[in-house]
């Protein structure tokens, strides 16, 4: 890890480092008993990296994922995202960060069932405050990027699992986020479709997109250029591999 910045509290990350966690900790109060899900995770992810985060259940990878996704705030340490310290931001500011900097892809797709593919992809742009016309244009573009230009008016139940996940990816990309954050993106897909989705991720990475993916499947993690393994709330291994 010679490329990593020697970071101390009070420092600012180098501009190339898009995600930097410094001794990131998250403890939960479970009815008087304090559960320390993360116990000081220091991690640096550069622009255009493709990182898989692995670990057995209970290792803290979901907690880390929520923190990186700005859905949760740490109880200790620092988190810098795209040059901004987000670990001490308030609720509304975090919502703004999620809207601008992060594109989520969920295991269960999380599409609005009654809305068309196009409208689903438009959602982040609504909260970004864009006008209807511009929204539609950008959403259509994002759908074309994932190869669904001809499925825009379809509702989720008229799409296959792979197509649904591609709609979700288009939604994640539509705001041009700093990181694509995927949580078990192939967990609900068969292996053929999984391969298809991994190809989409690979292509996006080649186009310069930073991708962070949480998974427990080794063959999915194998697509990433770097695998970080968590164990008991700490980084256990951090390895680069040939994609």
């Amino acid at each position: 890890m010679s490329l990593a910045q020697q970071f101390r509290t009070g420092d600012t990350p180098l501009p190339d480092i898009i995600i930097l966690t410094h001794k990131l900790a998250r403890a939960y109060d479970m009815g008087g008993e304090v559960v320390r899900a993360l116990r000081g995770v220091s991690l640096q992810i550069r622009r255009n990296e493709y990182v898989a985060i692995m670990g057995p259940s209970g290792s803290g990878k979901s907690t880390l994922m929520n923190l990186i996704g700005c859905l949760d705030t740490p109880t200790g340490g620092e988190y810098w995202l795209n040059g901004q310290k987000v670990s001490d931001l308030g609720d509304d500011a975090l919502a703004r960060i999620r809207n601008k900097e992060i594109g989520f892809v969920f295991q269960t797709f999380n599409l609005l069932p009654r809305a068309t593919a196009l409208h689903n992809v438009e959602l982040p742009l609504i909260y970004a405050g864009l006008g209807a016309k511009e929204r539609r244009a950008q959403a259509a573009q994002a759908l074309e990027r994932v190869g669904l230009g001809d499925r825009m008016e379809h509702r989720p139940n008229e799409l296959s699992g792979g197509q649904r996940q591609r709609v979700a990816i288009a939604r994640a990309l539509v705001n041009d986020p700093s990181i694509l954050l995927a949580d078990e993106p192939t967990g609900n897909l068969d292996s053929a479709t999984s391969g298809e989705i991994m190809e989409v991720f690979g292509a996006l990475h080649r186009q310069g997109q930073t991708v962070v993916m949480v998974t427990h499947e080794h063959d999915i993690a194998a697509h990433a250029a770097r695998v970080v393994t968590l164990r008991d709330g700490l980084v256990a291994t951090d390895q680069r591999q040939a994609a």
Binding site: N66, A95, F104, F106, N110, L123
Partner: protein
């Protein structure tokens, strides 16, 4: 997120759940419809009372000298018995007051009863037959459409002539010219000399079923005991003159009846104010019960909407989580659900307004209630609906807005 966006989203959701939405807005719908309907009725009666009723029955700047009030809400038995013991207004009283007033006024005698009028083998039952003096038509604002009114001389000498209302003319003469023809009132013949212009209806009662004959004609035996009038009607040019004339009339009557200073009047000087006061009493009751009923339906409607919204929040927890993860702030979620409940209630309110308006016209068409639609009530009705939506939506919406996105996303 723009409010319009939120409303569009709300409409989408409502369209997807038509039945549930339909039920949930019934309360607001009923409340607003009732509100508009009640407002129209009250407003209509009010317009009627002030413009038509008081003017028609009593007259503008006019007072009636009577034994007892004609329009009286809730009179106790003892009061009624006291009134019945009062001396009647005699011809002598009426003459003395009319002669003694120094304020320039018009005055006429009036005594009425319901009597059948016959002619050509046809009859008009229970017509309002009045014995009056010649100024009566002027004071009561009864323009003659055909023929003429009777003269002062005819009134004084008691010639058996009669001026009839348009309905009486139509019923008895069916389109033929009634002037100069004979009608029988209480078995005695009268020559028709005039027909009054149609006066329309009041609370569904025709104002054209009447006949007016000279006070001293044989009609006097039908309407009152000998030498007695129901009222002396006095019309002044202004309110001030009316007050002066009333003071004079009161003085004349008190001295004629030898009332000592501490004794109450044993007669009454009734003005249209008295009638309006009577109506005011009824209106006050309406103004208490109307809003109470409206608020009950709106409160019930609001509770229903609140429950529907709480259900919606529970059902769509995952959606809320997703929206938050995509960048929706608390206030965006809050606005979305508030817009939904306001849209629900607003829709109920709009339907209520439409129904209320239809109700207003329907009532006007089929019932004697003189309803009058007012724009204010429509605006207020819509506002009430929307307000119910806001009040009912705040709690569910704030619950939705406070959801933790992680917990919400995890929900199945």
């Amino acid at each position: 997120m723009a409010f319009l966006e939120a409303v569009r989203l709300a409409l989408q959701t409502l369209r997807a759940q038509k039945l549930k939405s339909g039920f949930s807005l019934i309360g607001v719908f009923i409340g607003v419809a009732f509100f508009i309907g009640a407002w129209s009725i009250t407003n209509g009666i009010n317009v009627y009372m002030t413009e038509k009723f008081a003017g028609t029955i009593i007259g503008v700047n006019t007072f009636h000298l009577r034994r007892r009030p004609n329009f009286t809400p809730n009179v106790s038995d003892s009061m009624w018995r006291a009134w019945a013991r009062r001396p009647r207004i005699t011809f002598g009283d009426a003459e003395a007051v009319a002669a003694g007033l120094t304020v320039p006024v018009l005055s006429a005698w009036q005594s009425s009863d319901n009597v059948t009028i016959e002619a050509n083998g046809k009859q008009v039952r229970d017509a309002d037959v009045t014995g009056a003096t010649e100024r009566y038509f002027e004071i009561k604002n009864l323009p003659i459409a055909q023929g003429r009114a009777f003269s002062a001389q005819e009134a004084r000498s008691g010639v058996p002539v009669v001026v009839i209302g348009s309905e009486v003319a139509d019923k008895l003469f069916a389109g033929r010219d009634p002037i100069g023809k004979s009608v029988r009132i209480g078995g005695k013949p009268y020559r028709v000399i005039g027909v009054v212009e149609p006066q329309g209806k009041l609370f569904g009662f025709s104002l054209d079923r009447f006949a007016v004959a000279p006070a001293l004609s044989p009609v006097q035996d039908l309407v009152n005991p000998p030498g007695v009038v129901d009222a002396l009607i006095v019309k002044a040019g202004s309110v001030a003159q009316m007050r002066d004339a009333m003071a004079e009339a009161e003085g004349i009557m008190r001295s004629r009846r030898h009332l000592r200073p501490r004794q109450d009047n044993n007669f009454v000087l009734e003005t249209s104010e008295g009638v309006l006061e009577f109506w005011g009493g009824i209106q006050r009751i309406l103004f208490v019960f109307g809003p109470a009923l409206v608020s009950i339906s709106l409160v019930v409607g609001g509770i229903v909407i609140m429950n529907i919204m709480l259900m919606a929040v529970a059902e769509r927890t995952r959606e809320i989580g997703l929206r938050k993860s995509l960048g929706a702030r608390r206030r965006d979620i809050m606005r979305q659900f508030l817009a939904e409940s306001v849209t629900l209630a607003g829709l109920g309110g709009a339907l209520g307004v439409v129904t209320g308006v239809l109700l207003t016209f329907a009532l006007k068409a089929v019932s004697p209630l003189p309803t009058t639609l007012s724009g204010v009530s429509i605006v207020l009705g819509l506002m009430l609906g929307g307000l119910t939506g806001i009040v009912a939506g705040v709690y569910p919406a704030s619950r939705a807005a406070r959801l933790d996105p992680i917990v919400a996303l995890r929900q199945e």
